[in-house]
Symmetry: none
Subunit: 281 residues, 2 copies
Amino acid sequence: MAQQGLMGIRSHYPRLSEKEKKIADFILEHPEKIVHQTISQVADQLEVADATVSRFCKRIGYKGFQALKIALAPEIIAPNKMLHEDVNDTDEAIMVAEKIFQSNIRTLENTLQVLNKAELEQAVTLLLEARRVEFYGFGGSNMVAMDAYHKFVRSGVPAFAFPDAHLQLMSASQLTNQDVAFIFSHSGASKDAYLLLQTVKKTGAKTIAITGFPKSPIGQQVNIALHTSSEETDYRSEALASRIAQLSIIDALYVTVIMRQKEKAQTSVEKVRNAIAATKM
Amino acid sequence: MAQQGLMGIRSHYPRLSEKEKKIADFILEHPEKIVHQTISQVADQLEVADATVSRFCKRIGYKGFQALKIALAPEIIAPNKMLHEDVNDTDEAIMVAEKIFQSNIRTLENTLQVLNKAELEQAVTLLLEARRVEFYGFGGSNMVAMDAYHKFVRSGVPAFAFPDAHLQLMSASQLTNQDVAFIFSHSGASKDAYLLLQTVKKTGAKTIAITGFPKSPIGQQVNIALHTSSEETDYRSEALASRIAQLSIIDALYVTVIMRQKEKAQTSVEKVRNAIAATKM
DNA sequence: TTGCTATATGAAAATTATTTTCGTATTATG
DNA sequence: CATAATACGAAAATAATTTTCATATAGCAA
Protein backbone atom coordinates (compact mmCIF):
# COMPACT_ATOMS: atom_id res chain seq x y z
CA MET A 1 0.00 0.00 0.00
CA ALA A 2 1.07 3.54 -0.60
CA GLN A 3 2.31 5.37 2.43
CA GLN A 4 0.27 8.01 4.12
CA GLY A 5 -0.23 11.12 2.03
CA LEU A 6 2.41 13.79 2.23
CA MET A 7 4.90 11.69 4.15
CA GLY A 8 4.91 9.14 1.37
CA ILE A 9 5.77 11.81 -1.17
CA ARG A 10 8.69 13.00 0.90
CA SER A 11 10.14 9.56 1.10
CA HIS A 12 10.08 9.15 -2.68
CA TYR A 13 11.47 12.59 -3.35
CA PRO A 14 15.14 11.71 -3.89
CA ARG A 15 14.30 9.28 -6.68
CA LEU A 16 12.19 11.70 -8.70
CA SER A 17 13.08 13.40 -11.98
CA GLU A 18 13.12 17.16 -12.55
CA LYS A 19 9.47 17.60 -13.52
CA GLU A 20 8.41 15.10 -10.96
CA LYS A 21 10.13 17.07 -8.23
CA LYS A 22 8.31 20.13 -9.48
CA ILE A 23 5.06 18.25 -9.05
CA ALA A 24 6.05 16.94 -5.63
CA ASP A 25 6.93 20.44 -4.47
CA PHE A 26 3.58 21.71 -5.61
CA ILE A 27 1.72 18.99 -3.79
CA LEU A 28 3.64 19.49 -0.57
CA GLU A 29 2.93 23.21 -0.77
CA HIS A 30 -0.70 23.10 -1.92
CA PRO A 31 -2.22 19.70 -1.31
CA GLU A 32 -5.67 21.26 -1.47
CA LYS A 33 -5.17 22.17 -5.12
CA ILE A 34 -4.60 18.55 -5.99
CA VAL A 35 -7.70 17.50 -4.14
CA HIS A 36 -9.98 20.08 -5.70
CA GLN A 37 -8.67 20.28 -9.25
CA THR A 38 -8.47 17.95 -12.24
CA ILE A 39 -5.25 16.50 -13.50
CA SER A 40 -5.29 18.89 -16.47
CA GLN A 41 -5.71 21.97 -14.31
CA VAL A 42 -2.80 20.92 -12.16
CA ALA A 43 -0.69 20.11 -15.19
CA ASP A 44 -1.43 23.51 -16.71
CA GLN A 45 -0.39 25.38 -13.59
CA LEU A 46 2.85 23.48 -13.49
CA GLU A 47 3.35 23.71 -17.23
CA VAL A 48 3.81 20.00 -17.64
CA ALA A 49 1.79 17.44 -19.55
CA ASP A 50 -1.12 15.61 -18.00
CA ALA A 51 0.75 12.44 -18.75
CA THR A 52 3.64 13.52 -16.56
CA VAL A 53 1.35 14.10 -13.61
CA SER A 54 -0.35 10.78 -14.19
CA ARG A 55 2.96 8.98 -14.31
CA PHE A 56 4.07 10.79 -11.19
CA CYS A 57 1.13 9.39 -9.26
CA LYS A 58 2.09 5.86 -10.16
CA ARG A 59 5.72 6.50 -9.49
CA ILE A 60 5.05 7.40 -5.89
CA GLY A 61 2.95 4.32 -5.40
CA TYR A 62 -0.64 5.25 -6.10
CA LYS A 63 -2.94 3.62 -8.58
CA GLY A 64 -3.51 6.95 -10.28
CA PHE A 65 -4.43 10.57 -9.87
CA GLN A 66 -7.75 9.84 -8.19
CA ALA A 67 -6.09 7.60 -5.66
CA LEU A 68 -3.66 10.38 -4.82
CA LYS A 69 -6.54 12.79 -4.35
CA ILE A 70 -8.17 10.47 -1.89
CA ALA A 71 -4.97 9.96 0.04
CA LEU A 72 -4.47 13.71 0.26
CA ALA A 73 -8.04 14.58 1.21
CA PRO A 74 -7.62 13.74 4.90
CA GLU A 75 -4.56 15.95 5.18
CA ILE A 76 -6.20 19.15 4.15
CA ILE A 77 -9.11 19.15 6.58
CA ALA A 78 -6.84 20.38 9.37
CA PRO A 79 -4.49 22.69 7.54
CA ASN A 80 -1.98 22.76 10.41
CA LYS A 81 -0.50 25.99 9.16
CA MET A 82 1.66 26.61 12.16
CA LEU A 83 3.49 23.35 12.09
CA HIS A 84 5.93 23.89 9.29
CA GLU A 85 7.03 27.15 10.75
CA ASP A 86 9.85 26.81 13.18
CA VAL A 87 9.44 28.10 16.69
CA ASN A 88 12.21 30.57 16.00
CA ASP A 89 10.31 32.33 13.24
CA THR A 90 8.36 34.43 15.65
CA ASP A 91 8.69 34.64 19.36
CA GLU A 92 5.16 35.77 20.04
CA ALA A 93 4.02 33.78 23.05
CA ILE A 94 0.74 32.86 21.40
CA MET A 95 2.55 31.56 18.34
CA VAL A 96 4.79 29.43 20.46
CA ALA A 97 1.75 28.14 22.31
CA GLU A 98 0.06 27.21 19.08
CA LYS A 99 3.11 25.38 17.91
CA ILE A 100 3.44 23.47 21.16
CA PHE A 101 -0.23 22.56 21.32
CA GLN A 102 -0.35 21.42 17.71
CA SER A 103 2.72 19.37 18.27
CA ASN A 104 1.24 17.75 21.36
CA ILE A 105 -2.01 17.02 19.56
CA ARG A 106 -0.23 15.41 16.64
CA THR A 107 1.89 13.36 18.98
CA LEU A 108 -1.18 12.06 20.78
CA GLU A 109 -2.78 11.17 17.46
CA ASN A 110 0.30 9.37 16.25
CA THR A 111 0.82 7.57 19.51
CA LEU A 112 -2.74 6.32 19.54
CA GLN A 113 -2.23 4.95 16.03
CA VAL A 114 0.88 3.18 17.09
CA LEU A 115 -0.40 1.72 20.35
CA ASN A 116 -0.37 -2.04 20.22
CA LYS A 117 -3.53 -3.66 21.45
CA ALA A 118 -1.95 -6.89 22.61
CA GLU A 119 0.84 -5.18 24.48
CA LEU A 120 -1.53 -2.84 26.23
CA GLU A 121 -3.56 -5.82 27.38
CA GLN A 122 -0.46 -7.60 28.60
CA ALA A 123 0.63 -4.52 30.49
CA VAL A 124 -2.73 -4.35 32.23
CA THR A 125 -2.52 -8.01 33.17
CA LEU A 126 0.96 -7.59 34.60
CA LEU A 127 -0.12 -4.57 36.60
CA LEU A 128 -3.07 -6.48 38.03
CA GLU A 129 -1.13 -9.58 38.96
CA ALA A 130 2.13 -8.14 40.22
CA ARG A 131 3.14 -8.56 43.82
CA ARG A 132 4.81 -5.17 43.55
CA VAL A 133 5.08 -2.57 40.77
CA GLU A 134 7.89 -0.03 40.67
CA PHE A 135 7.89 2.96 38.36
CA TYR A 136 11.25 4.35 37.27
CA GLY A 137 12.28 7.46 35.43
CA PHE A 138 15.33 9.70 35.30
CA GLY A 139 15.56 13.41 34.66
CA GLY A 140 12.32 14.77 33.26
CA SER A 141 10.83 11.30 33.14
CA ASN A 142 11.00 10.98 36.90
CA MET A 143 7.97 13.19 37.12
CA VAL A 144 6.03 10.74 34.96
CA ALA A 145 7.05 7.86 37.19
CA MET A 146 5.92 9.75 40.28
CA ASP A 147 2.65 10.58 38.60
CA ALA A 148 2.05 6.94 37.73
CA TYR A 149 2.84 5.94 41.29
CA HIS A 150 0.36 8.44 42.72
CA LYS A 151 -2.36 7.17 40.47
CA PHE A 152 -1.89 3.45 40.84
CA VAL A 153 -1.30 3.48 44.54
CA ARG A 154 -4.77 4.91 44.99
CA SER A 155 -6.28 2.14 42.89
CA GLY A 156 -4.90 -0.56 45.14
CA VAL A 157 -2.03 -1.62 42.91
CA PRO A 158 1.08 -2.12 45.08
CA ALA A 159 2.93 0.73 43.40
CA PHE A 160 6.22 2.40 44.28
CA ALA A 161 8.39 5.16 42.89
CA PHE A 162 11.50 7.01 44.03
CA PRO A 163 12.65 10.56 43.62
CA ASP A 164 16.30 9.97 42.85
CA ALA A 165 18.54 7.74 40.82
CA HIS A 166 20.25 6.05 43.71
CA LEU A 167 17.09 5.03 45.50
CA GLN A 168 15.66 3.69 42.25
CA LEU A 169 18.65 1.52 41.63
CA MET A 170 18.74 0.21 45.20
CA SER A 171 15.10 -0.71 45.15
CA ALA A 172 15.32 -2.28 41.70
CA SER A 173 17.93 -4.75 42.89
CA GLN A 174 15.52 -6.06 45.50
CA LEU A 175 12.74 -7.08 43.09
CA THR A 176 11.59 -10.68 42.68
CA ASN A 177 10.24 -12.56 39.70
CA GLN A 178 6.70 -11.80 40.78
CA ASP A 179 7.30 -8.07 40.49
CA VAL A 180 7.00 -5.61 37.65
CA ALA A 181 9.41 -2.81 36.76
CA PHE A 182 7.91 -0.01 34.69
CA ILE A 183 10.49 2.24 33.06
CA PHE A 184 9.98 5.61 31.41
CA SER A 185 12.72 6.75 29.09
CA HIS A 186 12.07 8.92 26.08
CA SER A 187 15.31 8.11 24.32
CA GLY A 188 15.26 4.52 25.45
CA ALA A 189 18.99 4.81 25.71
CA SER A 190 19.89 6.88 28.76
CA LYS A 191 22.75 5.43 30.71
CA ASP A 192 20.93 5.46 34.03
CA ALA A 193 17.84 3.80 32.67
CA TYR A 194 19.83 1.18 30.82
CA LEU A 195 21.83 0.31 33.90
CA LEU A 196 18.64 0.04 35.88
CA LEU A 197 17.11 -2.28 33.31
CA GLN A 198 20.10 -4.62 33.55
CA THR A 199 19.76 -4.64 37.30
CA VAL A 200 16.08 -5.49 37.10
CA LYS A 201 16.62 -8.25 34.57
CA LYS A 202 18.96 -10.04 36.97
CA THR A 203 16.13 -10.28 39.49
CA GLY A 204 13.78 -11.97 37.05
CA ALA A 205 11.13 -9.28 37.44
CA LYS A 206 8.94 -8.50 34.44
CA THR A 207 9.77 -5.30 32.61
CA ILE A 208 7.58 -2.75 30.85
CA ALA A 209 8.89 0.41 29.21
CA ILE A 210 7.47 3.43 27.48
CA THR A 211 10.00 4.93 25.10
CA GLY A 212 9.93 7.07 22.00
CA PHE A 213 12.11 4.71 19.99
CA PRO A 214 11.07 1.09 19.52
CA LYS A 215 14.53 0.14 18.34
CA SER A 216 16.36 1.69 21.28
CA PRO A 217 18.25 -0.62 23.63
CA ILE A 218 15.58 -0.37 26.29
CA GLY A 219 12.75 -0.73 23.80
CA GLN A 220 14.31 -3.96 22.56
CA GLN A 221 15.12 -5.59 25.85
CA VAL A 222 11.97 -5.26 27.93
CA ASN A 223 9.14 -7.78 28.06
CA ILE A 224 6.55 -5.26 26.98
CA ALA A 225 7.50 -2.17 25.03
CA LEU A 226 4.98 0.59 24.54
CA HIS A 227 5.99 3.57 22.56
CA THR A 228 5.10 7.13 21.85
CA SER A 229 5.33 8.54 18.35
CA SER A 230 6.21 12.10 17.43
CA GLU A 231 6.94 13.77 14.13
CA GLU A 232 9.00 16.51 15.71
CA THR A 233 12.40 16.92 14.21
CA ASP A 234 13.81 18.90 17.10
CA TYR A 235 14.77 16.71 20.04
CA ARG A 236 13.63 19.19 22.65
CA SER A 237 10.14 19.61 21.16
CA GLU A 238 9.90 15.91 20.77
CA ALA A 239 10.71 15.34 24.41
CA LEU A 240 8.05 17.79 25.54
CA ALA A 241 5.39 16.21 23.37
CA SER A 242 6.33 12.64 24.12
CA ARG A 243 5.95 13.23 27.83
CA ILE A 244 2.35 14.22 27.22
CA ALA A 245 1.89 10.97 25.34
CA GLN A 246 3.53 8.98 28.14
CA LEU A 247 1.14 10.47 30.65
CA SER A 248 -1.78 9.65 28.43
CA ILE A 249 -0.71 6.04 28.14
CA ILE A 250 -0.48 5.86 31.92
CA ASP A 251 -3.95 7.36 32.20
CA ALA A 252 -5.27 4.71 29.85
CA LEU A 253 -3.61 1.87 31.75
CA TYR A 254 -4.79 3.27 35.03
CA VAL A 255 -8.40 3.59 33.96
CA THR A 256 -8.36 0.11 32.48
CA VAL A 257 -6.91 -1.37 35.65
CA ILE A 258 -9.61 0.24 37.73
CA MET A 259 -12.28 -1.05 35.40
CA ARG A 260 -10.95 -4.57 35.58
CA GLN A 261 -10.87 -4.43 39.35
CA LYS A 262 -14.49 -3.45 39.51
CA GLU A 263 -15.67 -6.16 37.16
CA LYS A 264 -19.22 -6.38 38.49
CA ALA A 265 -22.68 -6.29 36.99
CA GLN A 266 -22.30 -2.67 36.00
CA THR A 267 -22.84 -1.71 32.40
CA SER A 268 -19.60 -0.98 30.64
CA VAL A 269 -20.49 2.65 30.19
CA GLU A 270 -20.95 3.04 33.90
CA LYS A 271 -17.66 1.33 34.44
CA VAL A 272 -15.81 3.89 32.41
CA ARG A 273 -17.58 6.74 34.08
CA ASN A 274 -16.93 5.43 37.56
CA ALA A 275 -13.36 4.67 36.74
CA ILE A 276 -12.75 8.18 35.55
CA ALA A 277 -14.67 9.60 38.48
CA ALA A 278 -12.20 7.94 40.83
CA THR A 279 -9.42 10.12 39.47
CA LYS A 280 -10.21 13.53 40.89
CA MET A 281 -7.31 15.86 41.05
CA MET B 1 -21.62 24.16 0.71
CA ALA B 2 -22.28 20.58 1.52
CA GLN B 3 -22.03 19.67 5.14
CA GLN B 4 -19.29 17.48 6.39
CA GLY B 5 -19.33 13.93 5.09
CA LEU B 6 -21.61 11.43 6.72
CA MET B 7 -23.43 13.96 8.87
CA GLY B 8 -24.52 15.83 5.78
CA ILE B 9 -26.04 12.67 4.35
CA ARG B 10 -28.02 12.05 7.52
CA SER B 11 -29.49 15.51 7.44
CA HIS B 12 -30.73 15.06 3.88
CA TYR B 13 -32.11 11.59 4.50
CA PRO B 14 -35.77 12.45 5.08
CA ARG B 15 -36.05 14.19 1.72
CA LEU B 16 -34.64 11.31 -0.33
CA SER B 17 -36.51 8.94 -2.65
CA GLU B 18 -36.57 5.16 -2.33
CA LYS B 19 -33.45 4.41 -4.35
CA GLU B 20 -31.68 7.37 -2.95
CA LYS B 21 -32.28 6.11 0.57
CA LYS B 22 -30.86 2.79 -0.53
CA ILE B 23 -27.74 4.63 -1.67
CA ALA B 24 -27.57 6.69 1.51
CA ASP B 25 -27.83 3.56 3.65
CA PHE B 26 -25.02 1.98 1.73
CA ILE B 27 -22.78 4.99 2.16
CA LEU B 28 -23.46 5.27 5.86
CA GLU B 29 -22.70 1.58 6.24
CA HIS B 30 -19.68 1.32 3.95
CA PRO B 31 -18.19 4.73 3.21
CA GLU B 32 -14.93 3.06 2.25
CA LYS B 33 -16.62 1.37 -0.71
CA ILE B 34 -17.60 4.73 -2.10
CA VAL B 35 -14.11 6.06 -1.72
CA HIS B 36 -12.40 3.12 -3.35
CA GLN B 37 -14.83 2.16 -6.11
CA THR B 38 -16.14 3.77 -9.29
CA ILE B 39 -19.65 5.02 -9.62
CA SER B 40 -20.54 2.03 -11.83
CA GLN B 41 -19.27 -0.51 -9.32
CA VAL B 42 -21.30 1.09 -6.59
CA ALA B 43 -24.37 1.28 -8.81
CA ASP B 44 -24.05 -2.40 -9.71
CA GLN B 45 -23.84 -3.51 -6.10
CA LEU B 46 -26.94 -1.53 -5.31
CA GLU B 47 -28.71 -2.59 -8.50
CA VAL B 48 -29.44 0.96 -9.52
CA ALA B 49 -28.30 2.95 -12.52
CA ASP B 50 -25.12 5.02 -12.53
CA ALA B 51 -27.29 7.99 -13.26
CA THR B 52 -29.18 7.53 -10.04
CA VAL B 53 -26.01 7.57 -8.01
CA SER B 54 -24.77 10.59 -9.86
CA ARG B 55 -28.03 12.43 -9.23
CA PHE B 56 -27.90 11.40 -5.60
CA CYS B 57 -24.52 13.11 -5.15
CA LYS B 58 -25.90 16.37 -6.44
CA ARG B 59 -29.07 16.02 -4.44
CA ILE B 60 -27.16 15.94 -1.17
CA GLY B 61 -25.17 18.98 -2.15
CA TYR B 62 -21.98 17.79 -3.79
CA LYS B 63 -20.74 18.75 -7.20
CA GLY B 64 -20.60 15.12 -8.23
CA PHE B 65 -19.44 11.66 -7.36
CA GLN B 66 -15.78 12.62 -7.12
CA ALA B 67 -16.58 15.42 -4.72
CA LEU B 68 -18.45 12.99 -2.50
CA LYS B 69 -15.48 10.65 -2.54
CA ILE B 70 -13.21 13.39 -1.35
CA ALA B 71 -15.59 14.44 1.38
CA LEU B 72 -15.81 10.86 2.59
CA ALA B 73 -12.09 10.11 2.43
CA PRO B 74 -11.25 11.76 5.76
CA GLU B 75 -13.95 9.78 7.55
CA ILE B 76 -12.62 6.38 6.73
CA ILE B 77 -9.06 6.80 7.90
CA ALA B 78 -10.00 6.68 11.57
CA PRO B 79 -13.39 5.00 11.85
CA ASN B 80 -14.13 6.96 14.98
CA LYS B 81 -16.28 4.42 16.72
CA MET B 82 -16.04 6.22 20.01
CA LEU B 83 -18.23 8.99 18.73
CA HIS B 84 -21.21 6.69 18.32
CA GLU B 85 -21.81 6.07 21.96
CA ASP B 86 -23.90 2.94 21.56
CA VAL B 87 -21.05 1.05 19.94
CA ASN B 88 -19.76 -1.81 22.04
CA ASP B 89 -18.07 0.13 24.77
CA THR B 90 -16.04 -2.78 25.98
CA ASP B 91 -13.46 -2.57 28.68
CA GLU B 92 -10.73 -3.52 26.28
CA ALA B 93 -7.61 -1.59 27.09
CA ILE B 94 -7.29 -0.24 23.56
CA MET B 95 -10.83 1.15 23.69
CA VAL B 96 -10.15 2.89 26.95
CA ALA B 97 -6.93 4.25 25.51
CA GLU B 98 -8.75 5.62 22.51
CA LYS B 99 -11.25 7.36 24.70
CA ILE B 100 -8.59 8.89 26.91
CA PHE B 101 -6.51 10.07 23.97
CA GLN B 102 -9.47 11.58 22.15
CA SER B 103 -10.51 13.37 25.28
CA ASN B 104 -7.01 14.75 25.76
CA ILE B 105 -6.79 15.87 22.15
CA ARG B 106 -10.10 17.72 22.30
CA THR B 107 -9.11 19.38 25.52
CA LEU B 108 -5.87 20.63 23.99
CA GLU B 109 -7.77 21.98 20.99
CA ASN B 110 -10.25 23.79 23.19
CA THR B 111 -7.62 25.16 25.49
CA LEU B 112 -5.65 26.56 22.59
CA GLN B 113 -8.78 28.33 21.37
CA VAL B 114 -9.35 29.86 24.75
CA LEU B 115 -5.77 30.95 25.46
CA ASN B 116 -5.55 34.70 25.79
CA LYS B 117 -2.73 36.30 23.90
CA ALA B 118 -2.26 39.28 26.18
CA GLU B 119 -2.28 37.22 29.35
CA LEU B 120 0.24 34.79 27.98
CA GLU B 121 2.54 37.68 27.15
CA GLN B 122 2.13 39.16 30.61
CA ALA B 123 2.88 35.80 32.18
CA VAL B 124 6.08 35.52 30.19
CA THR B 125 7.11 39.02 31.23
CA LEU B 126 6.50 38.28 34.88
CA LEU B 127 8.47 35.05 34.69
CA LEU B 128 11.39 36.85 33.08
CA GLU B 129 11.48 39.74 35.53
CA ALA B 130 10.74 38.02 38.80
CA ARG B 131 13.30 37.94 41.54
CA ARG B 132 11.88 34.55 42.49
CA VAL B 133 9.12 32.33 41.03
CA GLU B 134 7.34 29.72 43.14
CA PHE B 135 5.08 27.07 41.65
CA TYR B 136 2.29 25.73 43.83
CA GLY B 137 -0.12 22.85 43.47
CA PHE B 138 -2.02 20.54 45.81
CA GLY B 139 -2.97 16.93 45.35
CA GLY B 140 -2.58 15.84 41.75
CA SER B 141 -1.63 19.36 40.71
CA ASN B 142 1.51 19.24 42.81
CA MET B 143 3.03 17.10 40.09
CA VAL B 144 2.46 19.88 37.60
CA ALA B 145 4.08 22.42 39.88
CA MET B 146 7.12 20.20 40.30
CA ASP B 147 7.33 19.72 36.58
CA ALA B 148 7.21 23.46 35.97
CA TYR B 149 9.93 23.96 38.54
CA HIS B 150 12.20 21.38 36.89
CA LYS B 151 11.79 23.07 33.54
CA PHE B 152 12.22 26.66 34.51
CA VAL B 153 15.08 26.12 36.86
CA ARG B 154 17.06 24.74 33.95
CA SER B 155 16.32 27.82 31.90
CA GLY B 156 17.81 30.12 34.50
CA VAL B 157 14.54 31.38 35.97
CA PRO B 158 14.83 31.49 39.76
CA ALA B 159 12.16 28.80 40.21
CA PHE B 160 11.04 26.92 43.30
CA ALA B 161 8.48 24.29 44.19
CA PHE B 162 7.67 22.22 47.23
CA PRO B 163 6.41 18.70 47.66
CA ASP B 164 3.89 19.24 50.43
CA ALA B 165 1.19 21.63 51.54
CA HIS B 166 2.91 22.87 54.64
CA LEU B 167 6.17 23.77 52.95
CA GLN B 168 4.30 25.56 50.21
CA LEU B 169 2.41 27.70 52.66
CA MET B 170 5.50 28.51 54.66
CA SER B 171 7.45 29.57 51.65
CA ALA B 172 4.56 31.58 50.22
CA SER B 173 4.44 33.76 53.30
CA GLN B 174 8.04 34.82 52.71
CA LEU B 175 7.54 36.23 49.20
CA THR B 176 8.15 39.89 48.37
CA ASN B 177 6.49 42.19 45.89
CA GLN B 178 9.18 41.41 43.35
CA ASP B 179 8.26 37.73 43.33
CA VAL B 180 5.76 35.67 41.37
CA ALA B 181 3.48 32.94 42.70
CA PHE B 182 2.24 30.49 40.08
CA ILE B 183 -0.70 28.38 41.22
CA PHE B 184 -2.14 25.27 39.60
CA SER B 185 -5.65 24.34 40.63
CA HIS B 186 -8.06 22.60 38.33
CA SER B 187 -11.17 23.51 40.30
CA GLY B 188 -9.85 26.97 41.16
CA ALA B 189 -11.63 26.55 44.44
CA SER B 190 -9.73 24.07 46.57
CA LYS B 191 -9.41 25.17 50.16
CA ASP B 192 -5.65 24.72 50.33
CA ALA B 193 -5.02 26.64 47.13
CA TYR B 194 -7.36 29.43 48.14
CA LEU B 195 -5.71 29.81 51.53
CA LEU B 196 -2.35 29.91 49.83
CA LEU B 197 -3.49 32.61 47.44
CA GLN B 198 -4.63 34.79 50.34
CA THR B 199 -1.26 34.34 52.00
CA VAL B 200 0.56 35.32 48.82
CA LYS B 201 -1.58 38.39 48.28
CA LYS B 202 -0.60 39.77 51.68
CA THR B 203 3.03 39.74 50.58
CA GLY B 204 2.35 41.83 47.49
CA ALA B 205 3.80 39.21 45.16
CA LYS B 206 2.31 38.90 41.67
CA THR B 207 0.01 35.95 41.12
CA ILE B 208 -0.59 33.72 38.10
CA ALA B 209 -2.96 30.77 38.06
CA ILE B 210 -3.99 28.02 35.67
CA THR B 211 -7.46 26.76 36.45
CA GLY B 212 -10.25 25.06 34.56
CA PHE B 213 -12.85 27.61 35.59
CA PRO B 214 -12.43 31.31 34.86
CA LYS B 215 -15.11 32.24 37.33
CA SER B 216 -13.71 30.26 40.21
CA PRO B 217 -12.47 32.19 43.27
CA ILE B 218 -8.84 31.68 42.35
CA GLY B 219 -9.46 32.45 38.69
CA GLN B 220 -10.99 35.78 39.72
CA GLN B 221 -8.48 36.93 42.24
CA VAL B 222 -5.11 36.44 40.60
CA ASN B 223 -3.30 39.01 38.49
CA ILE B 224 -3.09 36.75 35.48
CA ALA B 225 -5.53 33.90 34.97
CA LEU B 226 -4.91 31.28 32.30
CA HIS B 227 -7.50 28.60 31.66
CA THR B 228 -7.79 25.10 30.38
CA SER B 229 -10.98 24.14 28.62
CA SER B 230 -12.54 20.73 28.42
CA GLU B 231 -15.76 19.60 26.80
CA GLU B 232 -16.14 16.61 29.04
CA THR B 233 -19.71 16.57 30.25
CA ASP B 234 -18.69 14.98 33.47
CA TYR B 235 -16.93 17.43 35.78
CA ARG B 236 -14.84 14.65 37.23
CA SER B 237 -13.54 13.32 33.93
CA GLU B 238 -12.07 16.70 33.11
CA ALA B 239 -9.31 16.19 35.63
CA LEU B 240 -7.16 13.84 33.59
CA ALA B 241 -7.41 15.85 30.43
CA SER B 242 -7.01 19.25 32.02
CA ARG B 243 -3.72 18.23 33.58
CA ILE B 244 -2.42 17.53 30.09
CA ALA B 245 -3.53 21.01 29.08
CA GLN B 246 -1.86 22.58 32.11
CA LEU B 247 1.41 20.91 31.22
CA SER B 248 1.10 22.12 27.66
CA ILE B 249 0.62 25.71 28.80
CA ILE B 250 3.73 25.38 30.93
CA ASP B 251 5.61 23.98 27.95
CA ALA B 252 4.55 26.98 25.90
CA LEU B 253 5.60 29.46 28.58
CA TYR B 254 8.87 27.63 29.07
CA VAL B 255 9.78 27.64 25.40
CA THR B 256 8.82 31.30 25.07
CA VAL B 257 10.90 32.26 28.09
CA ILE B 258 13.89 30.45 26.66
CA MET B 259 13.52 32.23 23.37
CA ARG B 260 13.27 35.62 25.05
CA GLN B 261 16.38 35.06 27.06
CA LYS B 262 18.22 34.60 23.77
CA GLU B 263 21.99 34.25 24.11
CA LYS B 264 22.05 34.60 27.88
CA ALA B 265 19.94 31.63 28.80
CA GLN B 266 20.65 29.92 25.54
CA THR B 267 24.04 29.00 26.87
CA SER B 268 22.76 27.71 30.18
CA VAL B 269 20.22 25.51 28.42
CA GLU B 270 22.91 24.35 26.07
CA LYS B 271 24.98 23.35 29.05
CA VAL B 272 22.21 21.32 30.59
CA ARG B 273 21.29 19.75 27.29
CA ASN B 274 24.85 18.76 26.75
CA ALA B 275 24.98 17.39 30.26
CA ILE B 276 21.93 15.30 29.54
CA ALA B 277 23.29 14.19 26.21
CA ALA B 278 26.40 12.99 27.96
CA THR B 279 24.37 10.51 30.00
CA LYS B 280 23.08 8.80 26.88
CA MET B 281 24.77 5.85 25.31
C1' DT C 1 33.40 13.44 -32.13
C1' DT C 2 29.82 9.72 -33.33
C1' DG C 3 26.57 6.44 -32.38
C1' DC C 4 24.12 3.85 -28.97
C1' DT C 5 21.06 3.32 -25.04
C1' DA C 6 18.21 4.71 -21.36
C1' DT C 7 15.28 7.93 -19.60
C1' DA C 8 12.14 11.87 -19.68
C1' DT C 9 8.55 14.29 -21.68
C1' DG C 10 4.52 16.08 -24.41
C1' DA C 11 0.82 15.51 -27.89
C1' DA C 12 -2.61 12.93 -29.19
C1' DA C 13 -5.22 8.65 -29.13
C1' DA C 14 -7.50 5.36 -26.36
C1' DT C 15 -9.73 4.22 -22.48
C1' DT C 16 -12.40 4.85 -18.55
C1' DA C 17 -15.47 7.33 -15.59
C1' DT C 18 -19.13 10.45 -14.95
C1' DT C 19 -22.95 13.26 -16.23
C1' DT C 20 -26.74 14.47 -19.12
C1' DT C 21 -30.48 13.53 -22.07
C1' DC C 22 -34.43 11.36 -23.07
C1' DG C 23 -38.17 8.09 -22.84
C1' DT C 24 -40.95 5.23 -19.93
C1' DA C 25 -42.97 3.94 -15.62
C1' DT C 26 -44.97 5.12 -11.37
C1' DT C 27 -47.31 7.82 -8.14
C1' DA C 28 -49.92 11.58 -6.56
C1' DT C 29 -53.62 14.94 -7.31
C1' DG C 30 -57.70 17.07 -8.60
C1' DC D 1 -59.74 9.03 -15.08
C1' DA D 2 -56.69 12.37 -16.80
C1' DT D 3 -52.82 15.05 -15.93
C1' DA D 4 -48.75 16.52 -13.78
C1' DA D 5 -44.88 15.52 -11.24
C1' DT D 6 -41.37 12.67 -10.03
C1' DA D 7 -38.28 8.64 -10.25
C1' DC D 8 -35.54 5.89 -12.81
C1' DG D 9 -32.64 3.36 -16.29
C1' DA D 10 -30.47 3.01 -20.92
C1' DA D 11 -27.77 5.12 -23.82
C1' DA D 12 -25.50 9.18 -25.61
C1' DA D 13 -22.52 12.88 -24.56
C1' DT D 14 -19.01 14.76 -22.07
C1' DA D 15 -15.14 14.95 -19.12
C1' DA D 16 -11.20 13.04 -17.00
C1' DT D 17 -7.44 10.04 -16.98
C1' DT D 18 -4.20 6.82 -18.82
C1' DT D 19 -1.60 4.86 -22.50
C1' DT D 20 0.80 5.00 -26.67
C1' DC D 21 4.00 6.79 -29.46
C1' DA D 22 7.34 10.05 -31.25
C1' DT D 23 10.85 13.04 -30.06
C1' DA D 24 14.23 15.08 -27.18
C1' DT D 25 18.00 14.85 -23.94
C1' DA D 26 21.72 13.04 -21.21
C1' DG D 27 25.13 9.70 -20.21
C1' DC D 28 28.51 6.87 -22.00
C1' DA D 29 31.55 3.74 -24.83
C1' DA D 30 34.38 3.48 -28.78
